[in-house]
Point group: C2
Chain length 397, copies 2
């Protein structure tokens, strides 16, 4: 079509797939099926920890850093059962659906019972998440996460015993037994998986052509510990073990060296920014544009769910750059829509959604142009990215 | 009462004023009049340029700075008539009312006809704003703004002719003839009012005990030009002419020296931060906490109305500090509610609103605790500041 936003478009849909995109003569569209507002493909939420939603509003009272916040998060993790995890995730995924999100990448590491013993079905917690996604009506990529160490050379402790499979081989055995092609892989971080075991996770994902996601350099302290342990940055370590590649997503990528940025760009990896979480946790502002210009592909996630609003995530990428540089216009609205939509879906391994085109899933939502926020702002990509909020999403009947 | 948020409160209201605040026995509140959610005093929006709302969604396509954005804003200003100004302001003020704002400080400088000739009533444009506020049901402090120069030693040009009264004496004559006690004073900036005329505006406001507002140091370039012209910072210049004081509000206060911060704090002036505009215009992050700790009193404004959402303004003060410092917990939710509420109202000269207490106006709104954003987050100040949005405001019947 002509531009980012096109007026008076006719869609034919069969079995959930778009079979025709047309420009009917004015008045020719059947009125009962006409939708007013801007119709958009539903977004991809590429980084979710569903259970963090329980912390919303409850973790804003203390002074501290990411690390003190993590203590509160662990207290929540310690209490979850398969049933309560299902109920919580169902609520979170329903909020995503209501706010225009059509697919979620769930970065899942809460695998075992509180003392570290596997459940009778060792994938029971993961299955609870898949069931919650089904019940909420959202597509899911379950990024089953390998988490083996509390820090560089430190065994899991406390609630972290719920996360650990013992070693990467046993992680791979468990995940292979999952037997659901919605399962992808994740390395929690270079902190949490020792250097000599990273390759096992990388190979598991590559052999199956499944997405591989990794938390990367969210915190300065993590970088320093990695350099102390291995004499290289987390990005250099991931490059060394072959973890960077076109089906890899690096989550956060906040504190990078120029060499890190070049390595990620050369690999054509995805970088998943989570701006509303990164500001909430005082992580800092990552080099989004430098990564893009080096060849990396931007995606977005709501991560801790302090906020679930992909409009906020999109505009925060640009607005954070403005705050830092005192210049406007780093990211266009069209680029940010691409990050929230088709690029995001691709990073989850979904290539059949994110665009309004023949052969794509008819997975659509509508942005209301008549709300207090959007009225008079024009039917444009800029209105979607800079004026609308989650509250302006209308679901199709 | 006991805390920031108190459960099961009974209010008696007569003629719009709160006459009793009580804690009835459980079940004793009459059901038809029970309100669920968190009842809050409506906010004060201390810095508004109503006509900038027309730019929302339309100024996000270009690379540039505050100064290139200003060209688009001037193009809008050039076209307004009293009638269209009224219609636009009515819409903006209605949006404020719908989102929980009860009072607005309108920083008004669009005084004259396009060629600079006064209207038959030289206050016709200001009266249009007062009428719009009345129609929308919002309290207004019309900050009638003195604007005499395009820059240091430069005459007004183009649309700026609409802003200028020629000199400060004629500004004072016009404003004195306004004859409406809702009118306060503003100095557009130290750029726009020459040094030897600042005192006239200061005196006008002080004699009448009316609020005085000033744009201060939003841009680094403005500071540099002031130092070049006068050998001192804008804050030093305002201090020299006696413009700092307890009824003065300094708007933005983004780029300050430690001495500037000390001067503002010693004067107990208000500082009005406009975070959603300051990020939109790439102004930067001002030293909110340092100003507070020096004695200044924080207020909030939506300024250009790229966003009208005082929940966003509140949390952005804290979240911007987190982005800059990589530490959490600079501002408590209670402090931010105070900035958005009673402190803000005081900066507009309104001391009878902003608190739920006997003798205060019953100017209240309700934050819905059952929305996707707020459910499960707790009836707390933190929920209001960090979880709710403008879309969660419910007006009282």
């Amino acid at each position: 079509m002509d531009g980012v936003v096109v007026e008076d478009v006719g869609l034919a849909v069969e079995a959930g797939m778009i079979t025709e995109v047309s420009r009917p003569a004015p008045g020719a569209l059947p009125q009962p099926a006409t939708v007013s507002g801007i119709t958009i493909p539903r977004f991809a939420n590429c980084h979710s920890h569903a259970f963090h939603r329980a912390l919303r509003g409850h973790t804003q009272t203390e002074r501290g850093t990411f690390w003190t916040w993590r203590e509160q998060m662990y207290a929540t993790a310690a209490e979850l059962t398969p049933d309560s995890y299902y109920a919580l995730a169902l609520d979170v995924y329903a909020e995503m659906v209501a706010t225009g999100i059509g697919a979620v990448g769930e970065f899942h590491y809460l695998h075992h019972q509180p003392d570290g013993t596997p459940y009778d079905d060792p994938n029971e917690m993961g299955r609870a998440l898949l069931a919650a996604a089904d019940a909420a009506g959202i597509r899911i990529r379950l990024l089953d996460t390998c988490y083996l160490a509390s820090g560089f050379g430190t065994a899991p402790e406390g609630v972290q015993r719920r996360f650990s499979d013992g070693d990467a081989e046993r992680w791979a055995e468990r995940v292979s037994a999952f037997d659901d092609d919605r399962v992808g892989a994740a390395i929690h971080s270079v902190r949490a998986v020792p250097r000599d075991q990273l390759g096992t996770v990388v190979d598991w994902a590559r052999e199956r052509e499944r997405p591989l996601h990794v938390h990367l350099s969210e915190q300065v302290a993590e970088n320093a510990a990695c350099v102390a342990a291995y004499g290289m940055t987390p990005t250099q370590l991931l490059a060394e073990v072959g973890a960077l590649g076109p089906l890899t997503t690096l989550v956060h990528a906040t504190h990078l060296t120029p060499e890190d940025i070049a390595l990620i760009g050369q690999a054509r990896s995805f970088v998943c920014f989570c701006p509303t979480t990164e500001r909430d946790l005082a992580d800092g502002i990552g080099p989004s544009r430098e990564l893009h210009d080096a060849g990396a592909r931007l995606t977005l996630g709501s991560d801790s769910h302090a906020v679930i609003d992909h409009f906020e995530e999109m505009r925060a990428v640009e607005l954070n750059e403005r705050l830092r540089s005192q210049v406007r216009g780093h990211w266009s609205a069209a680029e940010l829509l691409d990050a929230a939509g088709p690029t995001g879906h691709a990073s989850l391994g979904f290539d059949d959604t994110g665009r309004i085109a023949v052969g794509q899933r008819a997975d659509l939502a509508v942005v209301d142009l008549g709300s207090w926020r959007t009225r008079g702002t024009g039917a444009s990509a800029e209105t979607i990215v800079f004026s609308a909020t989650a509250a302006d999403v209308r679901l199709l009947p």
